[in-house]
Symmetry: C2
Subunit: 226 residues, 2 copies
């Protein structure tokens, strides 16, 4: 489902190039559950933004379902992204003036669904992350871990084929973190959702099918002690 | 240094009271290193906001260095807070249009220091968290863990007597997380800085002198297996 070929990414500040990704190669089969680990600042979120079609690489190719993603026009990309990908951001990016329920329903606005159907799907997903009684709270009226779970519900509401989760349990206590991982694993096993998950927690990495480490701007496979 | 007596806090939404803290009693001696654990949504950040004089309790008393904090006027409180407390927020709250160096220097603007002195102190602190080469980056040009470290440097730059850290290693990999904990512990042991730290990571809680658990809106002591 995902194929990255020699992806390079430089950031430019005052015309100085800062290379972050130096030739990332990655191939993920449909239905896999992949974990990505690596040091702070090593380029994991940068890679996720490219996988999520939110940022362009400096060079290299990205095939999503065998489509050469970056040869598309922006509006075609937006449609592809909305249908296929669910993204949990490291800093959540919830809209502060919308309720939890409205935030969760945002990805569904692009589809031909009635407002009632959108509300129903959003409520169902909030229930799955244990937050149904907080549906009418705004983000500032929620704890850090509750905000993170709203972001997770939003990523899942459209039943994506590919879930990209950037440190999705970073703000969660052990028990809630386990519940979220079990939710991801069950969607992976029963609905065939492919998962790419960044984490710096060993207990989370241990539950992934395979673990890759970001080092010096490249991905390499980690020995998995199963 | 810190004494909380029967602190209660309700949030009010549409005139409905939601009790979050139900009579928290806490006494912390100068130089202690206290960890606070508890489930997502249990009230830890709410308690921190009261300790940091950023929010008022619904009832109860808070004595900071034997001063009844909430009997003061707002401007006196601001001065007390700036002199005494360093706060690492769960969601960082960095100013997006300032560089890392400027963000770190913010607490020093209230003191009678020259701009050069402020720059020097800020740079020194950025160095302590390993980010000196990123001093002129804006927050959006930093990784999640780098942003968290800027927030930590900002909390420490004024050499506070009391450090309140809300999940300060949540976005950090194992190695960087250990470095930050060692920095806190050394400031605690050599400079006598009192530390109250919220975490949901066992490895971090194990390094605290004493651990308290937030449950049902009250704090209770956790058995420490040393
Ligand atoms: N917009 C930007 N401009 C310049 N440099 C950037 C920008 N965004 C990120 N960087 C830099 O790119 C590097 C990789 O950042 P990235 O966010 O991908 O790291 P990460 O692995 O996700 O780290 P963390 O675990 O701390 O979240 C960092 O050194 C960061 O400072
Ligand atoms: N402004 C607010 N208005 C109403 N309720 C709020 C507000 N802020 C927080 N809450 C609620 O108060 C409770 C405690 O929140 P708090 O942020 O203190 O939790 P926490 O222990 O820090 O959780 P986490 O580990 O997820 O960060 C939560 O149920 C939250 O929904
Ligand atoms: Mg990141
Ligand atoms: Mg919190």
């Amino acid at each position: 489902i995902v194929k990255l070929e020699n992806i390079c990414k430089n950031y430019y500040l005052n015309d100085v190039a800062f290379p972050v990704l130096n030739g990332v190669n990655l191939q993920i089969e449909t239905g896999e559950f992949v974990g990505i680990v690596g040091e702070s600042g090593s380029g994991k979120s940068t890679l996720m933004n490219i996988l999520g079609v939110l940022d362009h690489p400096t060079s290299g190719k990205y095939y999503l379902n065998e489509c050469d993603v970056f040869s598309y026009e922006e509006d075609e990309l937006a449609a592809l992204r909305n249908r296929t990908i669910g993204f949990v951001f490291q800093s959540f990016f919830l809209l502060p003036r919308m309720t939890a329920l409205q935030n969760v329903g945002l990805p569904l606005l692009y589809r031909n669904l009635s407002p009632e159907k959108i509300k129903e799907q959003s409520f169902k997903m909030l229930k799955k992350v244990g937050l149904e009684e907080f549906h009418d709270r705004k983000p500032t009226q929620l704890s850090g871990g509750q905000q993170q779970r709203v972001a997770i519900a939003r990523a899942l509401v459209g039943e994506p084929h590919l879930l990209l989760a950037d440190e999705p349990t970073g703000a969660l206590d052990r028990r809630t973190s386990d519940e979220i991982m079990s939710l991801f694993l069950s969607l992976n096993r029963h609905d065939g959702m492919t998962v790419v998950l960044i984490t710096h927690e060993e207990k989370v990495a241990e539950r992934c099918g395979r673990v890759l480490r970001m080092e010096e701007g490249c991905l390499c496979q980690v020995e998995q002690i199963k």
